[in-house]
């Protein structure tokens, strides 16, 4: 296959086995710059493992994962090097610094130097402060700026973690189940936020909530048993017989 120049992410023939269990098998995934892509799939389909592979948390057994126009090989890099290339990740369970204030959480996530010695003498500039307040407004946490992140409600922690990705100004955002534990209203607002970010950033969203998927999705990838079952619009995917069989069908039988 000839490489198209404008892929932000391309994964080819990726395999990953955990103790004989094939979490990812022969996965081929291509994504355009600025795209908002939703990845769905039943439990154990390999969604989170896929994000782990992109972010360097685990290494694939075979295959390649390349990032950006330059085609940077992500497999040889570790977590923080991959972050520094411009890939940010929101975890499935909200992962924020519980003992730090909301402000400090965002401050630690702002783009800038990551060195040990620069951290000794760095001071908060007024631009940084403005940027943090701008983000706080976006994620609706302005009133909680000095609250400890550990005291936030579950949904607010999710928003804070999304805010931390915004602070980072990443080229590719990997967002694992952003709507989990949110009210319908919060979910809709999260969807709007992600839509407003698409274009400027490339975003991969992993989600279970089909209403949410319908709200945000331009293109949906369905994962099943570690490989891509089909790709297309929400309607196409929902009409696909194999998808109905393995995913939606099973969901219907539960109801």
């Amino acid at each position: 296959m000839t490489r198209r120049k404008d892929f932000i992410l391309e994964a080819e023939d990726v395999c990953k086995t955990f103790d004989g269990f094939k979490a990812i098998s022969n996965l081929n995934f291509y994504m355009d710059e600025g795209e908002l892509r939703t990845v769905i799939g039943p439990n154990g389909a390999g969604k989170t493992t896929f994000l782990d592979l992109i972010t360097g948390r685990t290494k694939p057994d075979t295959g390649s994962i390349r990032f950006g126009r330059e085609g940077i090989d992500l497999i040889r890099k570790n977590e923080y090097e991959i972050y520094r290339l411009g890939i940010g990740r929101k975890f499935q369970t909200p992962t924020v610094y519980t003992d730090h204030t909301v402000f400090e959480n965002l401050l630690l996530s702002l783009e800038g130097s990551r060195g040990v010695f620069s951290a000794l003498f760095s001071r908060v500039t007024s631009e940084q402060r403005d940027r943090i307040h701008e983000i706080l407004k976006t994620i609706g946490l302005s009133a909680r700026v000095d609250a400890k992140a550990g005291s936030l409600a579950h949904g607010q922690k999710q928003w804070l973690e999304i805010g931390m990705l915004l602070a980072q100004n990443a080229r590719l955002l990997l967002v694992d189940e952003p709507a989990a534990g949110m009210t319908d209203e919060e979910t809709a607002k999260t969807g709007e936020l992600l839509l407003s970010l698409a274009g400027k950033h490339s975003i991969i969203v992993i989600e279970h909530d089909m209403v949410f998927v319908r709200q945000i999705a331009s293109k949906v990838t369905v994962l099943h048993q570690g490989t891509i079952l089909c790709e297309g619009t929400v309607d196409e995917v929902q009409a696909n017989e194999r998808v109905i069989e393995v995913y939606l069908g099973r969901k219907h039988s539960h109801n």
């Binding site: 972010t55 570790n78 977590e79 923080y80 972050y83 520094r84 940010g88 990740r89 975890f91 992962t95 924020v96 610094y97 519980t98 003992d99 730090h100 402000f103 400090e104 401050l107 630690l108 996530s109 990551r114 040990v116 951290a119 000794l120 003498f121 760095s122 908060v124 931390m164 980072q168």
Partner: protein
């Protein structure tokens, strides 16, 4: 946004430091022994040791309370600093030892007639001080580099530090490394020309220890308020998030670990001339565990806590080992259990809690603000439930 140190705290620190560094030595020096205000040479010497223990405790807390690294080997670095100072002190004995030879007694006993090569530069105080910093620092760097870059975390890190300490302890028990074997170094006489056995030198060493404790306290206060300090606590709370925020967590941990070990080494170097002995017992594993108890009792994750804990537990030890010598370890263990079960934040946490309770009980009669929001929350909950 956040100030390094509040005004009230600064005043409190200043007052305590003034008493410890100026008033106490004056009471020792200028009051007659019959005076009720007199502080004996013995007490001054004891408090000098407490100050060194307090510094050791702060370094334990910088790692454990602030970075989530439970190091069971801080006494090793403390002892290494002590040994380096000890080598200098041994050289300063000159020919005044039992054997009246120009080399330390234990070397004579082992059959040496000339000074081993690696002992020779220790006649120089600047060289010895350099080694006080370099040896613990270099060991911490190598050990930390390997441990942190191999992603050894949590209890595995603790076990490794304990193993390292035990190995070093066994090594120092051996006579053939020419470090004094199980007797270690003792019978010191001079430090920079001052006789270490006189009251004036002991007072000087006490002042130096208290001053160094103050510097370490203020230095760490500043450090923990910097961005580095924030990253440090972030590593403690969520190391994954730190990695996925682009920080090389291993490098931050290494920096803090080396710093803590160097400071512990310096504390050990101040400790040895005051107690007059250093031997491998000082780096046995239970000494490191004792330092953990000081921090837990005082209050983990605060900088005052370890100081209070170290002084409180050691003062208790001084009293208990005289009054009930057989029961000291039971008292220590019992205290640790009590703190773990009932005082997760130690004495500092207890004090904060008491102050908060007192403030609330004073405020209660005038107006009842805590009651009101609780009520609305309860009604809201019942409304949701009824839906």
């Amino acid at each position: 946004m956040q100030k390094t140190i509040s005004k009230g705290e600064l005043i409190a620190v200043f007052i305590v430091a003034l008493i410890a560094i100026v008033v106490v030595p004056c009471l020792n020096c200028f009051t007659p022994e019959s005076s009720p205000f007199h502080i004996s040479d013995f007490t001054i010497n004891l408090w000098g040791e407490y100050c060194c223990y307090a510094i050791l405790a702060i370094t334990v807390d910088l790692l454990w309370g602030y970075t989530g690294l439970l190091s069971l080997g801080q006494c090793l670095f403390f002892s290494l600093g002590g040994y380096m100072m000890g080598m200098y002190l041994m050289r300063m004995i000159g020919s005044l030892g039992q054997y009246h030879m120009p080399i330390p007694d234990f070397l004579v006993f082992l059959g040496w007639t000339r000074l081993p090569v690696f002992w020779q530069p220790f006649s120089s105080f600047p060289f010895a001080m350099m080694m006080v910093v370099l040896l613990p620092g270099a060991l911490a760097f190598v050990f930390g580099f390997l441990a942190f870059h191999s992603r050894i975390r949590g209890v595995y890190f603790s076990i490794l530090t304990q193993a390292l300490t035990y190995a070093a302890c066994l090594l120092f028990f051996r006579n053939n490394i020419l470090m004094g074997g199980n007797n270690g170094f003792t019978d010191f006489k001079f430090l920079l020309g001052f006789d270490t056995r006189t009251a004036a030198t002991k007072r000087g060493l006490y002042i130096a220890s208290a001053l160094f404790l103050l510097i370490v306290y203020l230095g760490f206060k500043w450090l923990t308020a910097t961005k580095l300090g924030k990253v440090q606590r972030a590593i403690r709370d969520s190391e994954n998030r730190v990695l996925f925020s682009g920080y090389a967590a291993a490098n931050f941990k290494l920096f803090v670990f080396v710093l803590a070990c160097v400071v512990a080494g310096l504390a050990g170097a101040l400790f040895v001339p005051q107690v007059g002995i250093i031997n491998p017992d000082q780096m046995s594993t239970d000494k490191s565990l004792e330092a953990i108890v000081w921090v837990a009792v005082g209050g983990r994750g605060t900088l005052v806590g370890p100081i209070i804990g170290a002084i409180f537990v050691n003062a208790l030890k001084s009293w208990a080992t005289r009054a009930y010598p057989d029961y000291w370890l039971i008292i220590l263990g019992g205290m640790f259990l009590l703190v773990v079960l009932f005082l997760p934040r130690g004495l500092v946490g207890l004090a904060e809690h008491t102050v908060a309770l007192w403030k609330r009980s004073r405020r209660q009669p005038e107006d009842d603000p805590p009651e009101a929001p609780a009520e609305t929350a309860a009604t809201a909950a019942s409304q949701i439930a009824s839906k």
